[in-house]
Amino acid sequence: MQSLSNRAKKLEAKPMTLAERAYLPAIFQGLSITMRHFFRAATKRQVTVRYPDEVRPFSPIFRGLHVLKRDEQGRERCTACGLCAVACPAEAITMVAGERKKGEEGLYREEKYAVSYEINMLRCIFCGLCEEACPKAAVYLQPDKMAPPRFERDEFIYGKDRLVEPVDPQARSIRGIQLTPEQAAALAQRMAQPA
């Protein structure tokens, strides 16, 4: 057939030379390549990351486990607008919105908040569309945490108890907002009181 693009590069399959027909040169070449790797590995330069003891660095934009962020004062950012649920191609997010009552201003930033917010981690495909959809920068996919494997199916419905960012500054995601220890302490105290 004629050339369609004028950029064709014909790959000619050369017939085997006598040396190639004798098997051995190619075999020795292959053996020498693997032996090089053997010595490299034997001198402790394997590329393997010994996983539970060592962890490969993740990219700072890796899409890992979700977190519901708090703002600078420790209030939940989520306003239960439902955009993340709409944007989710797996339909993994469900939420129930509620009105913020008087006296809860320290807990929720907006007048509306999510009474319950659940992500079904088994359905979730970690595509990041919810993070992109959130107009309040409330839901984030953390780059340094992954959803752990579990034994039971119902354990994968992550409610607010597991999603909302903890107040402990040590436990925060690296992309999270770092509180000063005083802020954190104040926050923890406030959280401990019944709303």
């Binding site: 693997t34 790797h37 053997f38 590995a41 590329v47 393997t48």
Partner: protein, 360 residues
């Protein structure tokens, strides 16, 4: 100089040989994993015990406690017989390998060999060719098409390559004039020099033997009977539990035996360079008795033989993780049209050289 050993000593040696064969086969699985890992820039098992050294034990215990299984429509007796046969024949052939020279305590001379028979080589061959029945029976009894294909492949492959293997050996026999493996070893010990080893006289024969050894042990590039990307598991597809473990062990015992035979036939067995000089040095300079010096040399020779064997085992694994495998018809063509003619040519060449007095 060699006395007939007592029956007790013989059984002890045989038990030890069996045990050592099994141990080596067991740790071959570990070695295979680690070597494969290193060849592939990986680490290999390192979580079962220190450096993963308990890995083979874990595998063995797991296999022993796994459910026994008989596929529907399988012939039960044959289904059990298959792996047993494979294992028994693999172990039997190691009985005649001369692992070391004699050890002398006073008037008692102990031979580091299971049984010394003057047809040792024939014994090895006879037993090894029986081994294929284990594979064939197992593959046939499984009542599975993949197993059957594997069994057919194993049968034709082993028979074809045994021919070339045997013929490459005839040249060795022509040089040595004996079938006893011990004799062949001792002949290579003249002055203890490496150039008395048969490899120098028989390079071509060795290469043929090596290729055939790969085929006989069903190792890549000749692992067509199991060949997991084509036949799933080949002849052992339907086997579970320790029956499958027996097949795996049999393969490694075969590798061990093949390595041992190669070391004995071509690489001087338990001989090592300058062994007599070393003995004389101990006798003359250190004032040792001749017997104890000789015993030391025997022990060193034993270790040397094992070093050679391990070298070959490593080579088997190195090749396995490097080369692609043949296709069935290409394998047959290689056996019948290249190796057998080469082996015949090797016989003629050796004959000519012997007649010409160049080698003896």
């Amino acid at each position: 100089m060699i006395e007939l050993p007592t029956l007790g000593w013989q059984s002890i040696v045989i038990l030890v040989v069996f045990g050592v064969s099994l141990l080596i086969a067991t740790y071959c699985t570990y070695a295979e994993r680690v070597i494969a890992a290193f060849l592939q820039d990986r680490v290999g098992p390192d979580r079962a015990g220190p450096f993963g050294l308990l890995q083979p034990l874990a595998d063995a215990v797991k296999l022993f406690t796994k459910e026994e299984f008989f596929p529907a429509g399988a012939n039960k007796a044959l289904f059990i017989l298959g792996p047993c046969l494979a294992m028994i024949t693999a172990l039997m052939s190691s009985a005649v390998i001369p692992f070391g020279n004699v050890i002398q305590f006073g008037n008692n001379v102990f031979n580091l060999q299971g049984i010394e028979v003057n047809i040792g080589m024939l014994w090895v061959f006879g037993i090894v060719s029986l081994g294929v029945y284990g594979v064939m029976i197992g593959g046939w009894a499984s009542n599975n098409k993949f197993s059957l294909l594997g069994a057919i492949r194993a049968g034709s492959q082993n028979i074809s390559y045994e021919l070339a293997m045997g013929m490459s050996l005839i040249a060795v026999l022509m040089i040595s004039g004996t079938l006893s493996l011990r004799e062949i070893t001792l002949q290579q010990s003249a002055a203890g020099e490496w150039h008395f080893w048969n490899i120098v006289k028989q390079p071509l024969g060795f290469i043929i033997f090596l290729v055939c050894a790969f085929a006989e042990t069903n190792r890549t590039p000749f692992d067509l009977p199991e060949c997991e990307t084509e036949l799933v598991g080949g002849y052992h597809t339907e086997y579970s539990s320790m029956k499958m473990g027996l097949y795996l062990f049999a393969e490694y015992v075969n590798v061990f035996v093949a390595s041992a035979v190669m070391s004995v036939l071509y690489f001087g067995g338990f001989n090592f360079p300058f062994q007599y000089e070393l003995r004389d040095w101990f006798v003359n300079n250190q004032g040792w008795a001749l017997t104890s010096a000789q015993n030391l040399i025997s022990v060193l020779g034993l270790l040397g033989l094992f070093a050679k064997i391990f070298g070959f085992i490593f080579f088997f694994m190195w090749v396995r993780w490097t080369l692609p495998r043949f296709r069935y018809d290409q394998l047959m063509r290689l056996g019948w049209t290249i190796l057998i003619p080469l082996a015949i040519f090797n016989i003629l060449l050796t004959g000519g050289l012997i007649l010409g007095g160049i080698i003896k």
